[in-house]
Subunit: 340 residues, 4 copies
């Protein structure tokens, strides 16, 4: 069977991880990646000795790459002629403009959470609403936070039904190495409900959600406490078992050293994961308790890589590669090493 052809537009924090994720899929071919300037990530890609084919946004971008000795395969226009779908990981707002180019070349596209919802035909999450994405031209992925906690809420919802959730997001305010934003000695409070709770309701309309978001000076993962009201009483052990079986959820123990967002990052480094990345959200085992009949638990969302699996699910949906969500996510997971 021939592989579907995928391009990645924007080789930043998200884009380079999407490229790696696509490159691992046995039924996809990463045709190339696009950027507008020879950034540190582009340099690292070439210095690694195993660069992906590089395209530039337009002709004017070429000299800056050539000055660094980075070979250029062509322009975005060239790439669009060679792919079935693009993953747009450009900064928020740029995707909307790029969409016109994709449309003109009749190439499907998946946008990231930074774009407005109306960029796409459907607001998408691989586990929670795969069916809605099937055959669509334009999908928009949930943001990193939302992708992460929907995994956990959907996991419970599929088993016992969830009526309501209240979340408190302790948001890492910048990614490692990001010198363009940050906070020093400030915990910044946003009004309730946050957009993530509203987004959950768009993806899972049968759940009522509200939540708080507080930005804090960290870079290694969002910590989210979730209080979920189930339709039937669920025990802590049952919840832990559900989480443990989910290929994109890792149950970890504080007592064993997994006591922070940074500990998970360090574990991934020490394990030798590329870029010290993890695709899985983590559930901290010792935080799972009942309050009355409500289940309270806490997760970590590794913001840089967490959207990769669901974005790849989106490729499967948009190109109708699989029409059954279980089959689709299983293949994504298998190629990413998340299940066998």
């Amino acid at each position: 069977m021939s592989k579907v052809k995928v391009g990645v537009v924007g080789y930043g924090v998200i884009g380079q991880r999407l490229a790696d994720g696509v490159a691992k899929q046995g039924d996809m071919e990463l045709v190339g990646v696009v950027d507008i300037a020879p950034t540190l990530s582009i340099r690292a890609m070439f210095d690694s000795g195993q660069p992906y084919p590089l395209y530039v946004f337009n002709e004017e971008n070429k000299p800056s790459f050539q000055a660094e000795g980075f070979p250029v395969e062509g322009t975005l226009d060239d790439l669009l002629s060679r792919v079935n779908i693009v993953l747009d990981a450009t900064p928020g707002g740029v995707g909307m403009k790029n969409k016109e180019l994709y449309k003109a070349k009749r190439v499907k596209a998946i946008f990231q959470g930074g774009e407005k919802n109306d960029v796409a035909d459907v607001f998408f999450h691989g586990y929670a609403n795969y069916e809605k994405g099937i055959g669509k031209d334009y999908l928009k992925l949930t943001s990193c936070n939302t992708t992460g906690f929907i995994r956990a809420v959907d996991c419970l919802d599929k088993a016992v039904g969830i009526e309501r959730v209240v979340i408190t997001i302790i948001r890492r305010v910048a990614d490692p190495g990001d010198a363009h934003r940050g906070l020093v000695d400030v915990a910044l409070v946003e009004k309730v409900p946050n957009h993530q709770a509203k987004d959950l309701m768009l993806i899972m309309p049968h759940v009522e959600a509200t939540g708080l978001l507080v930005h804090v000076p960290t870079t290694h993962g969002h910590i989210i406490s979730i209080l979920a009201t189930p339709k039937r009483r669920i025990k802590v052990d049952e919840a832990l078992q559900l989480f443990s079986k989910h290929p994109r959820i890792k149950v970890v123990e504080i007592a064993k050293g997994f006591n922070s967002n940074a500990a998970l990052f360090r574990y991934a480094r020490d394990r030798g994961n590329k870029r010290a990345d993890m695709y899985e959200i983590a559930v901290f085992k010792e935080t799972v308790v009942l309050s009355g009949d409500q289940l309270f638990f806490t997760i970590n969302v590794p913001q840089e890589a967490v959207v990769t699996p669901e974005t790849i699910d989106g490729v499967r949906a948009a190109l109708s590669m699989q029409t059954n969500w279980k089959e689709a996510v299983h293949l994504t997971n298998k190629y990413l090493g998340l299940e066998s």
Copy 2:
């Protein structure tokens, strides 16, 4: 009427604020403060031009103070002969040892949250269980976090009855200027329930509580989200009104710039509050919402000064100055400028 005589043992972050608070009470006399070394806080006290009478722990401590030209009134033993009660604000564990000295001199004492509960006859909060402290010899105050959120929960409880709470504490990990502890780029997760939830149940045994605590790299206040299950349905406006009327709670608006723990600190600086302190917890108005019948809201706890009012309430209880809690807290509040 003669004033009751109060001493403060330990002139650190908490002790110096207790001293200031006692000094403001029209019916109390601050006899002196005790420390073991000429710290930066002691120096600042003398450099301010308005020092409190200074006592040392024992004779051996005198030379280090004298070397700095800081006059010493006497030893702890001397102070104990001159007071009715001491506020022990020494580092955790030291209070337990000091208690023997207080006992020997038959001086009552109030300990802070860092001591173990069995240091005292009663675990105390001015609003939530004043009666239990009346006439007691040894009281232990709730910690800063617990003091803060009990104010809010008790405020609702007195009005509509609270059955259950789930809290997520985003804990500032060090005080401003503290170079002895800290976190860099880590959000550190503790197992659930945290001790603060357990402490709430000790003070308010009719409430079921659980909660998460996450340490983050900030210094200017704990941010706590609270989900409270009321006995009867309460509207957001009603809750806001209850909070607004409470002398130790300040309802603030994110839209007006009160958008973080640090913004509250800056407000207090710009207002000219001594040490940039606030006694009040803040409720962020735009975070108060309903989830089903549960009330969800977020507070800021200024960890340095927040225990001052409740500690002074403790003096009133232990010395039986007032036998009615409303009368007691009103006097404390009046002298602290929290109500007229």
Copy 3:
């Protein structure tokens, strides 16, 4: 003698401190302060119970203040009719626009370091080049960093002559409570020489200067190491004595607890200084050493308040209140409580 009339335009971090500083000067009258919106600082000013007369930038700004119940005295235009000079502490670039208004009303002005140099007739530092500012219409102050280390370099220069300096600035990246900028887990390096070294050479053209600036995630003061090449050999003790005698320099000892920018901030809080501010730079005594014939030492620059004294010196110069720099800075210092 009638007092000179001063207005402050922009009531932010710098503006409110300039206002306080002017209000303390026995020979100056603070006519009013100007802002465009009812910020947290404006609110704090009114909540303090002792507000300065408040002017708005223009009529359109009035409703937002009135909605908060903050009385407005008039517009900037009104204020300009009532003052001899304004201190412009608006965000960088705004001062240049405001200058047209000042010119039209023939009001002198002092701009802060955020403006470009050509906004003013002279780039000014009270100690290092007072004479150049005498009688001038428009002065621009050195920035906080530059103001601070010029104090120290000028202090040595006046005594022994300084040929050359090399500085390493460890720059606090945001002010306390600032949620609009910051860094998390990043030490950001700028190219050498930094603008502060260049600025020093503009103010002290006989000194050759270069330097590094590294932004770090702190808020409580810039730490700067300085290597100065004197014209004649100077001993450590002599340097310490020079620094100690300078009214705007405070020699502090690490061994006594002054071991960080934050310790100095805490000292100022505990001392009861308004806003926990210090006008003085600090020299850390234990960092003053010789390397060959070069003097190496480290200072702390409290970025929020440090420019207040030199800005007030600027008022004295521009209005020709004193024609001798020693007399001028002495009066500024006396009224600020820096010398008697």
Copy 4:
């Protein structure tokens, strides 16, 4: 030729990197690594699928590893029977105790910078004093900071002779994921000279050194400004060329995105380096300038991996594998991929 047999005692931040470094050496065999508890790093090693043979400190440690299913090869005693030399990377002070065990088994050892100097026969740096380590039983490596800047100073010294250096170290206060130490919003100043300057003089006794150390809240590398007084005038270009040719120094450009300690870390992540590590210190090209005849420049020291090459050099010296330093460091570099 048979390989020399090496063990690593302590599998923490440093130990695991030493183990990786030894494993890459074509003329060394990593016999095993030792630890006392199944830490997160041990878990990561096993989860990576390619564990090194694991030894425990003593029999009592075995059950905790076995409970996790981590196979144990033996005890430290067993390991010592199988190796020629151990690299002790235990916490500071433990190495001194372990030395008795090494002595008893007549095994050579190399200690890290956290031990006191008298733990070893020689205080060692691969480039600066290789000869002193040849054939010695016990070597102590310079600490991460010192290892790093000695590379740069020695590089210049070998070419033009260095008389004197003044350094300002902006020290990252904790490693990524370390929740046991840290600073929040504090730049902590130590007295001058720092121990690193003193250490440089022990290794390079012909150079006079002093320096400042300031701890800041970052984790991704020490930033150090260095002012070096050469014996003959050296131009900036010449210095850059010397640095560029050094296999353990990487000249990077701020203009190309290498503008912080964290940018270098991100580059290493994106490049796919294991653990996102770099062995090289970086010289920021745009920071290299002359001040008079003195050379001023700034480096980044990646504190986690930087000591690996020099420690491996130490193995070569202690076991007399090479008696010429150039030959030794070349082999270390070649196997680490630092030169061909």
